[in-house]
Symmetry: C2
Subunit: 303 residues, 2 copies
């Protein structure tokens, strides 16, 4: 169990021969969510051997092309590969029309259903509840409407310790009470406290994705206590003026967010094409938040 | 002078990790035309060191995504790289709306003018006349409206042989007559034939691009006597039924077109993803047309 994040692309708008635009797979027990889908994402999925058809849903943070230009190609390929399973897309309103106009131009009809869920800045919160995970949107601060996403792993239910069953000779009825989270009070008046009967629950993983944005309090509550935070860090600190003008973050600002929100680990990404080596960005962020890593393509982060 | 063709992608709809969808640069004396623009074309341009801003015009053969999904990303990058030069796009009607709706969603306005020229099946012929080359469209036979393109290099003017000037002691007026393509008749009645005074003109290169199509007489006249023909060959001969159903060509059909149209050389491309090795396709085509080569990415063909 837990959450695993695979980076498919980590560059900002201008792609380089080495780095692709934003895309990542969030894997919760083999149920895949694709977060953003820059140009060439389908090639990256192939490169890293990730099965297209395991993708249950796609989240698009905003309508800048480096976050969605690869989507129409991916849908087309899913169609050609005979996908039949429904696909849920969570995106700002204009996306549906953009996809449909391109399908119409090709006289194409996808073999599978696409269910669109419109993201709206005024209505953030839980957007998807699956068996494994709740996914929420949170407003960030970019030049156009833009959303962060929070993945909160769900409880896998209560397991009773075998020894407790034997020790107290629990009846079936009592076991059901314990599994429902209740204490057991016996006819004799004996109290068996729930927490003393059960296996300590595994910690539930929380992963937050924040890109593109300038640092802003709007999303701090939502990402609080994340085990892992992806936060854009387009620029180094000497470009903080440019970062502010373009509604992006610097390395230190991203690290500062991780610190303020009490996150355990930080991944920085969405690097400007001007940076050939990423080590200086990593070093700069680590001065503020030690547990920082780079969103390098192909890297897998387990929560 | 002459024409040079660089292959950027040569695969059919489903991209592989090895082969990209259709795109190629036709270079006529450093004036670049991009023909088709599948997803990832901008990365391929970078990979092969081709300057984006030298692209004067883009031709889109048809509205299947493997021929144009990379266009919006390329335009976006040209904008970010501060292009100011006009860009001419020749494409079926739906393209303009598809591009504009995506720019609107991003609240973007390109820094440069895009001039759209609508391709129409009922109105094929010369679509662009530059100093160096005339470009024509020709109707092909696909599932949706689809166009082939013919590049005809233009005459570079008449050059008079130095020896002829000295031998006949040509006056300025006579030289101008010769350069205008006329014979010279002197007062004495002496006739100096034009063709005996001038340098043999260099042969004018002709390059034809035909994809996607089943073999069809509709484009044979237009591509007649091409020095170089690119013709799609999606399938090998054992898949001829599938080729026919999907309005594509087999290797032998492509080779047969080159033969019928009296072309000097043939490049085959638009290969189905099912083929890992392309040698069998090459060998099959060569049985019918010996001067065949594969559209391998990065390959440059000089005419």
């Amino acid at each position: 169990m837990g959450i695993s994040v695979t980076i498919l692309g980590s560059n900002s708008a201008i792609p380089t021969t080495e780095r692709r635009p934003t895309a990542q797979i969030v894997d919760v027990n083999q149920d895949y969510t694709l977060v953003d889908c820059g140009e060439g994402t389908q090639i990256q999925l192939r490169k890293y051997g990730i099965k297209f058809q395991r993708i249950s849903r796609i989240l698009i943070s905003h309508m800048h092309g480096d976050h969605y230009f690869g989507l129409i190609g991916l849908l087309n390929t899913m169609h050609l590969l005979c996908r039949e399973k429904d696909l849920h897309i969570y995106a700002p309103a204009p996306l549906q029309k953009i996809i449909n106009i391109q399908l119409e131009a090709a006289h194409s009809k996808l073999r599978f259903n696409v269910i669109y869920h419109e993201l709206s800045m005024g209505n953030c919160g839980v957007i998807c509840e699956s068996k494994q995970v709740d996914i929420s949107s949170t407003p960030v601060k970019h030049r156009i409407d833009c959303f962060g996403f929070v993945f909160q792993e769900k409880s896998h239910g209560i397991n009773i310790r075998k020894e407790a069953i034997q020790q107290h000779n629990l009846t079936l009825e009592e076991i059901l009470q314990v599994k429902a989270g209740k204490d057991v009070i016996r006819e004799s008046g004996e109290l068996l406290k729930n927490k003393e009967l059960i296996v300590d629950p595994a910690p539930l993983a929380k992963y937050s994705f924040i890109s593109d944005t300038k640092p802003n309090p709007s999303y701090l509550d939502a990402i609080q206590d994340s085990d892992l935070l992806y936060h854009e860090a387009t620029f180094m600190n000497d470009m903080s003026k440019r970062a502010n003008e373009t509604f992006h973050s610097t390395t230190t600002q991203a690290a500062d967010v991780a610190l303020k929100a009490n996150c355990k680990r930080l991944i920085i990404g969405h690097f400007s094409s001007r940076y050939h080596s990423l080590e200086p960005l990593l070093n700069e962020a680590r001065q503020t938040f030690k547990n920082t890593e780079l969103a390098v393509e192909g890297a897998v982060f387990n929560v």
